[in-house]
Amino acid sequence: MTIITILGFLLIIIGLWGMLTRKHLFRIILGFSIIDTGIHLVIVSLGYIKGRTAPIFDADLSPIDAINRIVDPIPSALVLTAIVIGLAVTALMLVYVIQMHRHKGSLEISDYEELKW
C-alpha cells in the first residue's frame, strides 16, 4: 500500500511536469488527467488496510465481523465522486480548447499571450 501511495505521488509529479513543460494544449490537459489519476491512487491507498477485503457483503463476508475484515469504504466513495468530477472538468477543458482554436487557429499555448505577465 505504501508503494501505491508513492506511485500516486509520482504520477502527480509527472503530470505537473508535463503541464509545466509541454506547449501543446491537449498535452497540458493530458498532464491534468495524470495528476487526477495520481490523486485518486493516493486517496484509495490511504484507505487500504493490509490483508483486508473490499467492503461488499456476500456469502464469505457477513456484516457481523465486517469491522475487522473490510478496508475503509469512505475513500472509495470519495474517489468515485472525484473520478466523475475529473471527467466533467476534462470535458470542459477540451471545450475551452475548441473555443481557443476557433479564435486563433492554434493549439500552442505560446500563441496565447494576452494573459501573460
Binding site: W17, I49, F57, I70, D72, P73, S76, L92, I98
Partner: protein, 228 residues
C-alpha cells in the same frame, strides 16, 4: 531552457512537500470512527450489500446530489460554449461493414450490461455512474457506425431533467416518510443481498445512471457535431 530549469526546481520542491506525507503516514490498521460506524450498522440499517454504495447514495447522498449537479452544470457550460451553429461536414467517410455489423450485434448487449451495472449497484461493484458511462459508450459506438445518427437533443434533455427531478423527489420522500433527506428506508428493505432490497437505493442509482448516461451522450453529441 531556463524555464525548464525553473519547472524542474518547482517539481522537485513539490516532491519535497510530498516526502513527509509518504514517510510519516502510518498505514491504516483500524477503521476510523465514521467508517467503523458504517461497517457495523450499515448493512443492518440500510440493507445494501455494497457498503460503498450505502455511503455514496445514502450516508453521503447529499454529496452525490452535488456531484450530479456539477455534472449538469458542466453539460450546460459545454452547451453554452458550443452554442454557435455547427455545420455538419458534407463529406465523411462511411463506416466499414465490420463496424456496422459489429455495432448491431454489440449495441443491445452493451446497453443491457450498463443497465445491469446500475440496477445491481447495491449488490456488486458498480452503480449509477459506471452504468451510465457504459450506456454512453454504446451510443458512441452507434454514432461512429452511422454517421447520420444523432441522438435527439430534446429526448436527452427530458431524460436528464426528469431523472434529476425524480432523484430530488426521492430525497424529499425520504425526508417526509423516513429519517431524513435521501433516506432510503421509506421503501421496504427487502431480503438482504437480493435485487429488490435496500429500499430506495436501486431506484436512486438507476435514476443517477439514466442521468449520467444522458448527460455524457449529450456532451459527446455536442463535441461530435463540432466541425467548421
Amino acid at each position: 531552457m531556463i524555464k525548464r530549469f525553473f519547472s524542474l526546481i518547482f517539481v522537485v520542491l513539490l516532491a519535497l512537500v510530498f516526502l513527509p506525507l509518504v514517510t510519516e503516514i502510518k498505514p491504516l490498521s483500524e477503521l476510523g470512527m465514521t467508517s467503523a460506524k458504517y461497517a457495523e450498522d450499515g448493512a443492518a440499517e440500510l440493507g445494501a450489500a455494497n457498503l460503498v454504495t450505502s455511503v455514496v447514495v445514502t450516508y453521503r447522498g447529499l454529496d452525490t446530489l452535488g456531484e450530479v449537479t456539477v455534472l449538469f452544470i458542466t453539460t450546460a457550460g459545454i452547451g453554452f460554449m458550443l452554442r454557435r451553429k455547427t455545420i455538419l461536414p458534407e463529406k465523411k467517410r462511411r463506416a466499414s461493414e465490420i463496424l456496422k455489423s459489429g455495432t448491431s450485434f454489440l449495441l443491445p448487449l452493451i446497453i443491457l450490461f450498463g443497465v445491469y451495472i446500475f440496477v445491481h449497484g447495491h449488490l456488486t461493484p458498480g452503480g449509477g455512474f459506471q452504468g451510465g458511462v457504459v450506456i454512453a459508450s454504446a451510443i458512441v459506438l452507434l454514432m461512429l457506425s452511422d454517421i447520420n445518427m444523432h441522438p435527439d437533443h430534446n429526448i436527452l434533455n427530458w431524460l436528464e431533467s426528469l431523472s434529476g427531478a425524480f432523484y430530488v423527489i426521492m430525497g424529499i420522500l425520504g425526508l417526509i416518510l423516513a429519517g431524513g433527506f435521501l433516506d432510503n428506508r421509506f421503501l421496504p428493505l427487502g431480503e438482504f443481498g437480493k435485487i429488490f432490497s435496500a429500499g430506495a437505493i436501486p431506484v436512486i442509482y438507476s435514476l443517477i445512471g439514466l442521468k449520467v448516461g444522458a448527460e455524457l451522450v449529450g456532451i459527446l453529441n455536442k463535441l461530435g457535431r463540432e466541425d467548421k
